[in-house]
Symmetry: C2
Subunit: 142 residues, 2 copies
Amino acid sequence: MPDTHPFRSGCPISTTLDILGDRWSMLILRDMAFEGATSFSAFAAAEEKIATNILSDRLARLAAHGLIAAEKDPIDGRRTRYRLTEKGWDYVPVLLEIILWAAKHEDTLSPPPVVAAIRADRAGFLARLRDARAAGAPGLRG
Amino acid sequence: MPDTHPFRSGCPISTTLDILGDRWSMLILRDMAFEGATSFSAFAAAEEKIATNILSDRLARLAAHGLIAAEKDPIDGRRTRYRLTEKGWDYVPVLLEIILWAAKHEDTLSPPPVVAAIRADRAGFLARLRDARAAGAPGLRG
């Protein structure tokens, strides 16, 4: 492998999995897009119970790869807030396809109206999701 | 977590990642869909160099979850052939979205005509991919 390429192969799928192929990175993106999570404590509160050292590592990794941005909280400057970048939002269609697959094939708690809305119009669903996060609306878990 | 649910949460994304959230499972599906790989030795030959014990484990796991089927080779009954099931093919749209994301944001070797074809018509691309595999056509790597 040439030194100029830090990934295991030139394959786009393999490269992407090198960046965020572990479950925790994907769940952090999920919590940002669907739940409006913006803080370390919000990610740590996810029911899958990510360990805090792994959470720190994955947030740094996602920021290093430009999928999320870390910024000072405008109200409390000692806190860090995280937000999805354009590159991060561009990954959300992958999560939408995963939701559709799981809704069809596995026994999950996907809300049927959400699944129907994604299936009917992925781009429209994504646009509404971005609007909801920009407006600070509560997430699917409320 | 109730005993009746074997996954870490009822979230469709988390459930899917419990099943195939590791990079190797996704690369096996890639090699089946895009390269027409059907044998243990073909998966083992991928340039990402999967260890054979991990490969055995992941093939068994994908078969247990019904994404792939293992069958006796019709020509040489001592060999096993693997094929994507409907459930496995239904996961390929996730891979297509990953390819589009990587083509936009990372430096990969995605063939531009493939990326353009996926972007223009995901469903049509998927149908042509299935036809190519059913016909035993050579994969993207030839």
